[in-house]
Symmetry: C2
Subunit: 220 residues, 2 copies
DNA sequence: CAGAATCTTGTACGAGCATACAAAAATCTT
DNA sequence: AAGATTTTTGTATGCTCGTACAAGATTCTG
């Protein structure tokens, strides 16, 4: 409160460095192997530093999950706002949920450990639920008008679950690549929506086919 | 080797009791909270007993996962062999993957913790892969003849991933019930296969509609 | 029933971990 | 530059958990 010129800056820097280090450790060793000492070593600092900038390890962990989710969301948001058609929006959502360099077994298994923890720890659960809701509402906004309310709910849930299930398989068996996963999700979408509706996705209403145009954006 | 009359019997009994106790602890506390002491207490034995009958905790854990998977598989196998039509076989597979009393948040989160561990520990991975392969080959046997090889692969993978994804959502958000989950999987199946093919599932070839008959069984 | 084999108990040891903290180093202030 | 403040270090403490083990209880055997 008294000083803001330097103190807050260094403090914020260290906190971010530690969270970023925690993120790297997390992606390599999972939630389980994410020990205080390892985080500090990864950040190139002394083991005691964590207690100086954070109340405890849980605070770092929590910040890390938020950091991770923010990274993913920002990517999807950027792609969404640049998408000209609803179909492009759909591609943005699906591809954004399989980040190019991140569809890795190690990352999938780290992600699984967060989901396992979310089953027990209500704070993690809330973070994941936020994430899930965002995915589903993004999907629903693209599908809007194609189904009645109940089917809309169902379709977005099916696609969201399909995406999660593919991540789970990646963690367990690692028998699927990024492009394959994306193809499978689109196969699922394709079979859920009728051909006529799929055309409406590819070419926004009021425009000729073959001529892409900026679809109205409903949600970010 | 020398004595088999009593020794092996008591030994097997204790091992099974401990594994069953481990299973109960696992379902309640997850892989993380599954401590040696808790397992022994749950089994009504002394904390040291575990080291007498097992080489270490990992052996109990491993046996527990096998025990769990066997329970699930036996249920599916029993339903499968009693199924008169391919459609009934499909119902057996899908419903067997959402056991009546077991589609619980606690159980889902315990299951997630195994998947997370499988990403790191190759032994768990193999167990889960076995499980996944069985599910997919069961699905594929029902769908056989409806798709070409590539699409068959895709369809079984999509449905299997959808099932896993619904379990994951159960762990994280607990916003879905057993019947709802089964309905969603069938919605996915319905949209993947054509109406004509779906009829072929419901009524085996060579039989009149409305008259259920025993379909030939392809796989167990 | 005595002695041996088997089974069970309770405890003790050590490893790994989160956290607290005193001392050292660095930085800022005047 | 001297003193005050902030930042960093290294270590110590206490806790949880897996495992080993000696001693006690039970069952088997002759």
């Amino acid at each position: 409160m008294a000083t803001q010129g330097k103190r807050t800056r260094i403090e914020d820097i260290r906190r971010i460095e530690l969270i970023a280090a925690a993120h790297r450790v997390f992606l390599e060793h999972g939630l389980q192997g994410m020990t205080s000492a390892r985080i500090c070593r990864e950040a190139g600092m002394s083991p005691g530093i964590l207690a100086y900038y954070f109340k405890g390890k849980d605070e770092v962990l929590f910040g890390m999950v938020r950091y991770n989710n923010r990274l993913l969301m920002e990517d999807v948001i950027a792609r969404l706002s640049a998408a000209p058609t609803n179909w492009a929006r759909l591609e943005a959502i699906v591809e954004g949920n399989f980040p190019s360099q991140a569809f890795t077994r190690a990352i999938a298994s780290a992600w699984m450990s967060v989901c396992a923890e979310a089953g027990v720890n209500e704070q993690y659960a809330r973070l994941q639920q936020l994430f899930h809701r965002r995915l589903r509402s993004n999907l629903a906004s693209v599908f809007d008008g194609m189904f009645d309310a109940a089917r809309l709910h169902e379709a977005s849930l099916i696609i969201a679950a399909l995406i999660d299930g593919l991540w789970l398989r990646k963690a367990v068996a690692d028998d699927i690549g990024r492009d394959e996963a994306i193809t499978l999700v689109f196969r699922g979408i394709h079979s859920l929506v009728s051909d006529k509706e799929e055309q409406r996705l590819r070419y926004p209403p009021g425009r000729e086919p073959k001529q892409a145009a900026a679809g109205r954006r409903r949600r970010l």
